[in-house]
Amino acid sequence: MQVTQLLWDATRAWRPAPNNADSTDAQLVLLFGDRPTLSDHALVIDALAALWRRYPCAAIVCCSGGGQISGVDIMDDTLVATAIQLDHGTVIAAATTHAPKENSADAGARLAAELPTDGLRYVMVLSDGLCVNGSALVRGMTAALPDSVTLSGGLAADSGEFAATLVGLNEVPVSGRIAAIGFYGERLVVAHGSLGGWEMFGPDRLVTRSVGNVVHELDGQPALALYKRYLGSFADGLPASALLFPLCLKAHEGAETGLVRTVLGVSEIENSMTFAGDVPEGTCVRLMRTSREELVAGAEGASAVARRELGGVEPSLVLLVSCIGRRLVLKHRVDEELESAFDAMGSVGVFAGFYSFGEIAPSEPEGFSALHNQTMTITALAER
């Protein structure tokens, strides 16, 4: 397996990053960029053309993010392309458009059905982050895919705003697209680790009124009022500052872990909070908090898990899908999580990825993939 990473520079050309070997037989190019840049139609076409000149056989998957990962750096305002060539396997890419009021599970199932299951080992999914119900999408894809297949990926993001997210396959990326890339090959090694670094605190609370991913009341009290109390002076920074207190959805009252749900927005009028994922009524939840050290430690931990799972095989591609929320908390120290992850991986592998609106990764207790928030998800790929 050979992985090459290129950066789009001001001259509107792809520049190889200093630490990469080149390969012209790449089957897949992951093209991550910020939403404004990917919205530039002409630019994108130029970039795609240039890529195809280099890698004529490649399927190019575009995805917008809130910061693009290249090695241990975060790139904003530019495009990062990662070219992948499997020596002993193949790649099949598919995409579907999510209809406006469609059940995202149906879309996921539809998409997954386009990937032949014979020899399928790993599916990377990159989805629109605003009009797709990530939880449902993952449910739909999981149900349609064989249990042995690892599913990971993420929801495309906007840079700090919630205007639009763009995904595309061999095309100029647009809203409402979902792309899935199937990796085939017996010799493929897929390892995964995901960790948040968030701690639950405070009393258990009951979601007493919610609709889908909009929470109105916790324990009979308006959810927004609760958040403002906890944010104190930071309440001025809502909705962004709500990222400081994601919700942990517990399976039951005594559970010690659960799914993290990050706040996407608030409504002063309705006193409600919109989360990046369903929060059903009756769910037992607790507030979570963290510190920068803990977040960084989380990233480090996720990487360590993935490395262990590799079982001594050196990773070629390391896909990191982190969360916008983490970046906003870490602020300028965000590169620390990348550095610590890189160190924990053994300082090997080409690191690519983006900061997303939601991470898709195997969920620890069950093993099925789920939608996570505020979590560093690391998928390491190699060929034996």
Binding site: F201, G202, P203, R229, Y230, L231, G232, S233, F234, L244, R289, S291, R292, K331, H332, R333
Partner: protein, 786 residues
């Protein structure tokens, strides 16, 4: 990094860092610091800021969390106090105990108060120590069941009615509810004890009352039945079940009306509906009920409505067996309207029927109706002769025959004694009625078997028609008068009422009244009619006949008064007088009018009529003997004439008397022979010497071969039995000739001579040739003397 930028960066340095810089890098400023170091310093400053932010955030988090926890704690405390209050101040005594040991763990204030212990003492007790010994076992069972139960809520609760003893020893009835709960982190049993002493007492009182009422219901002799508002039986008492012969189950659910025949039931049904609708409160009715064995009884039913609190009303039925009363009533009714002997209608009913028939006739334009008044002839003979029992049987038989002669719709009644009456409605005309009356007469005339004897009665029937009467009494009286007339006319016949009959009856009654003193007043005469030998016209005897010369009314023929004389019994003294006079008269003639033979005897006879009444008279034999003795008449000259029907009737009873008469030497003639039912044995037994052939045969002998045959037969019979035959009522020469040809020896009638006074008779006899010639010539012509 530009100068302006670095200047700004320094200004924005974290105060702590700025202070540190000032201390450790004196004189450092934006321009003196190399760019790399400036970047480092900026990064560090940002870290310091970040640290501050984190601390601030942590502080607000801790504050918010604490506030929340305090708030929750307070709310929990309030809630706890509230729940505590619910326990303590609960109006029912609440006790918490260990389910295994029954040791009390907690009690509420009400329990403390109710049981009379102080709190500590009470909590030191076990639950079963509150129970009297007898009730402890049930308590264990109740609590154990709860303690051992699974977590299912309903299984973890148990109730028990038991007794508890308070501190002072007072025992109360309690309803315990034991419930499994978690208390203080462990399984416990919550017991609520409700004092139900009053309820239990009240319940017992109600039960006692119910038992008493139930007992009354069960033991009442009257049949009681409870029904729903539609008359469907809900419950019955034993008396009701016995009355109808059904079991309680068989009765329940049936409609009361289904136990009666449908005619009776339909009236009751509508009454019950009225009752249920509230139009009255009660009703009573007598109707029939059908028992389980299909027997029918009469029941007196009283149904009332019971209005209960809530729900629809019930109906209460009381039932009594009145079958006997009904029977009695029917019997009394029958008695009131029925003649007990014959079963026919009695006078009262008959009169009522007649009145109704008249009214109907008046309404519908006077359809013909008639009343027959039937009086038996010679009933007294039988009654006095054969006894009252025989008389009763006779009346019954007559009643049956009378009824049998009538049509289906006619009413036959016995008015009393030997009087009957018949109401004939819708008769077409008079002849129809007469036919019916004749039929009745014939039926009654037939021989009636009374024990070993055969008797004969006749009847006299008076007929009255409705058109002649204005009222029932009127009609009855008319028919009575007509009957009377029939009697007077000779009995054994029908007479139709005519206006004016009354007068005749009155007249007859007057006649009877006059008859009484007539003998004393010498108003009677005896006339004599000769009896001749038909072949020679030689007088052979005379018949004495009675005549009455009433001072006002003149000559009254015997047909008019003989009946009355017989009925009144006056015939006895009159008959006695006739006998005497006739014997005396003949004795007087004997010496003058005819010769005697060498023995001093003659074959001349004097016939005197004898009535049944005379025959019944005890003094008859003496009277006869006196008469012939006084007249010094040879007994063989006296012939007593008795009509065939009288003889037949009297012969049984008067056998002795007749024998005595035979012993006297007098002879009997059977008058009106051929019209009755005489038996040949009588002719043998008794001193019958003469058969007098009834006038009716003499009448027909000239024209009617049938009558000729009869006459011949009678003559032959007489010859065989060595009797004389006398033809009565010879009125024409051809009859005379025919009789001679038939071989009849003797005859009498207008053809020869009418009945005449003695002086006239003498003259007639003297004027006849051969009148007095005796048979001295030879014995050939001497009639054999029986």
């Amino acid at each position: 990094m530009s100068e302006s930028r670095s200047a700004t960066a320094f200004d924005a340095l974290h105060p702590v860092l700025a202070r540190q810089l000032r201390r450790h890098l004196r004189g450092a400023n934006a321009t003196s610091v190399p760019p790399d170091l400036l970047r480092l310093i900026t990064a560090v400053s940002e870290s310091y800021h970040d640290a501050d932010d984190e601390r601030r955030l942590m502080a607000s988090t801790i504050e918010a969390t604490s506030a929340e926890l305090v708030d929750r704690h307070e709310r929990l405390e309030i809630s706890e106090r509230g729940y505590r209050e619910l326990f303590e101040s609960n109006p029912w005594p609440l006790l918490v105990c260990d389910p295994a040991t029954l040791q009390l763990i907690a009690v509420n204030a009400t329990a403390v108060e109710r049981y009379g212990y102080d709190r500590d003492t009470l909590c030191a007790l076990r639950l079963d120590e509150l129970s009297p010994d007898a009730d402890a076992a049930a308590l264990y069972a109740c609590v154990s069941a709860v303690a051992g139960a699974s977590n299912h809520p309903s299984a973890a609760r148990n109730t028990l009615r038991t007794r508890h003893r308070a501190a002072g020893g007072c025992v109360i009835d309690v309803d315990l509810t034991a419930q499994q709960i978690a208390y203080d982190g462990r399984r416990a049993c919550l017991v609520a004890a409700v004092d139900v002493t009053d309820q239990v007492a009240a319940y017992r009182a109600v039960r006692a009352g119910e038992t008493r009422l139930r007992s009354i219901f069960d033991h009442a002799a009257l049949g009681i039945c409870e029904m729903d508002v539609d008359g469907v039986i809900l419950e019955t008492n034993p008396a009701f079940q016995r009355l109808l012969g059904y079991s309680a189950d068989e009765l329940q659910g049936r409609a009361l009306t289904s136990l009666s025949p449908s005619d009776d039931a339909s009236v009751t049904y509508s009454s019950m509906r009225e009752l249920a609708a509230g139009r009255h409160d009660t009703f009573s009715v007598e109707q029939r009920f059908t028992r389980q064995n299909s027997a029918s009884i009469w029941g007196s039913l009283t149904v009332s409505r019971m209005d209960l609190d809530g729900g629809s009303p019930r109906l209460l039925a009381l039932l009594q067996d009145v079958t006997e009363q009904k029977e009695l009533e029917a019997q009394l009714t029958r008695q009131a309207f029925q003649d007990s002997l014959t079963g026919l209608a009695n006078r009262a009913l008959f009169r009522d029927r007649v009145a109704h028939a008249l009214a109907r006739a008046a309404r519908s334009g006077g359809q013909r109706l008639a009343v027959l008044f039937v009086d038996l002839d010679s009933f007294k003979t039988v009654n006095d002769g054969l006894g009252h029992a025989a008389g009763d049987r006779l009346l019954v038989t007559v009643g049956n025959r009378l009824a049998g002669s009538m049509r289906a719709g006619d009413t036959v009644a016995r008015l009393g004694g030997d009087e009957f009456a018949v109401l004939l409605e819708e008769v077409v005309d008079e002849s129809e009625v007469l036919d019916i009356a004749e039929r009745a007469l014939a039926a009654i005339r037939s021989p009636i078997q009374v024990g070993p004897s055969e008797v004969f009665v006749g009847a006299s029937i008076g007929i009255a028609f409705g058109c002649n009467a204005t009222s029932a009494d009127d009609l009855l009286r008319n028919s009575d008068v007509a009957m009377y007339a029939a009697k007077g006319d000779g009995k054994g016949r029908c007479v139709v009422f005519e206006p004016g009959m009354h007068e005749r009856v009155v007249e007859r009654q007057q006649l009877e009244a006059d008859l009484r003193p007539a003998l004393e007043r010498g108003e009677f005469r005896i006339v004599y009619q000769p009896i001749l030998e038909l072949s020679t016209s030689r007088p052979r005897g005379v018949e004495a006949l009675l005549r009455w010369c009433h001072p006002q009314r003149g000559f009254i023929p015997p047909a008019r008064f003989i009946g009355a004389a017989e009925e009144t019994g006056l015939i006895v003294p009159i008959g006695r007088w006739v006998l005497e006079q006739a014997c005396l008269q003949v004795a007087e003639w004997r010496g003058r009018l005819w010769d005697l033979d060498e023995n001093g005897e003659t074959d001349f006879t004097i016939s005197v009529n004898l009535s049944g009444r005379q025959l019944r008279d005890d003094d008859l034999v003496d009277d006869v003997r006196n008469a012939i003795t006084r007249a010094q008449l040879p007994p063989s000259m006296l012939v007593l004439e008795i009509t065939e029907s009288v003889l037949v009737n009297e012969v049984e009873m008067q056998t002795g008397r007749l024998e005595m008469l035979r012993a006297l030497g007098v002879r009997l003639a059977i008058d009106d022979f051929g019209t009755g039912y005489s038996s040949l044995s009588y002719l043998q037994r008794f001193p019958v010497a003469v058969l007098k052939i009834d006038k009716s045969f003499t009448d027909g002998i000239g024209r009617n071969s049938h009558d000729v045959a009869i006459v011949r037969t009678i003559v032959a019979l007489a010859g065989t039995l060595h009797l004389s035959a006398v033809a009565e009522g010879v009125e024409a020469a051809d009859q005379h000739e025919a009789l001679v040809e038939a071989g009849c020896e003797l005859g009498q009638g207008f053809h020869f001579a009418r009945p005449v006074e003695p002086a006239e008779l003498e003259r007639i006899l003297e004027s006849w040739p051969n009148a007095w010639t005796t048979t001295r010539v030879g014995a050939v012509s001497a009639p054999p003397v029986p």
